[in-house]
Amino acid sequence: MGAVLRPFDRMRRQRNEAEYPGAHRPELTAADVSRDLPRVAAIADLAERVLDRMSPY
């Protein structure tokens, strides 16, 4: 589970940075996004599987 969730924090930060583009950080490319797609799918899949087992709080 740790391995699947490992990219989450990085992608969250990258998404935040993408909202404020500037010359001090490179722009995200299509290749960056494509590379991360399987990892996103794996996290979504994991979330789907654990959702039923979690209490509402």
């Binding site: 490992r6 990219p7 924090d9 990085r10 010359a23 001090h24 950080r25 490179p26 722009e27 960056d32 590379r35 991360d36």
Partner: protein, 196 residues
């Protein structure tokens, strides 16, 4: 060569900062004069002179192995802890980020840019709040992110590591980020010789 250190202006020279930072941020590790000279691009005579001064002051311990002179930090003085902290937040980035990047595959080069590199290269300004690093190659994004997190913990300041493909680094035209990075001060990190 800069007359005095701008990252930590109480030091005699930038090299004195690099040498002390390397030794104090690798506690217990011995390094030869030749290794240190190669690492920081100075002559062995320069390292030797600095080593004499620091050994005399009790900040550095030395041991001779035949004709090889080995240096290490003196971890047993009242200044050890505060000096280590001071070096970690000033000269530490080169030593600590190099260490963090070494185990990562598919990296062909790495540079510190931004305000830390500018201060290091002698451009006056405030003490840098973060350290920006550009890595050339195609490393795994999560490996890089973890390396940045490790370095952040050790340096107690934000570390941002960005990867760019070799081709983009070679031809930065049309890429505002790389065009700006390449015209500003850069500090190359030596990932080939290893730290220990």
């Amino acid at each position: 060569m800069q007359a005095s250190s701008l990252l930590l202006p109480i030091l005699r020279s930038p090299f004195q900062g690099e040498l002390l930072a390397w030794l104090y941020l690798h506690p217990g590790v011995e390094a030869s004069l030749a290794d240190l000279a190669r690492r920081f691009g100075v002559s062995q005579a320069t390292v030797s002179r600095e080593a004499d001064r620091l050994a005399q002051a009790g900040l550095v311990l030395e041991r001779r192995l035949g004709i090889v002179r080995l240096l290490r930090a003196n971890l047993d003085t009242v200044v050890t802890r505060p000096l280590t902290d001071l070096l970690a937040v000033t000269y530490g980035p080169m030593a600590i980020i190099t260490d963090a990047l070494m185990p990562i595959e598919h990296i062909t080069g790495a540079y510190i840019y931004g305000s830390w590199a500018a201060r290091y290269r002698g451009e006056p300004g405030p003490v840098p709040g973060d350290v920006d690093v550009v890595v050339i190659g195609a490393p795994d994004a999560d490996d890089l992110y973890e390396a940045a997190a490790t370095a952040e913990r050790r340096l107690a300041r934000e570390v941002n590591i960005t990867a760019v493909p070799e081709s983009a680094w070679q031809s930065p035209a049309g890429n505002p980020f790389l065009e700006s990075v390449r015209t500003r001060p850069l500090v190359k990190l030596d990932l080939t010789t290893g730290v220990i």
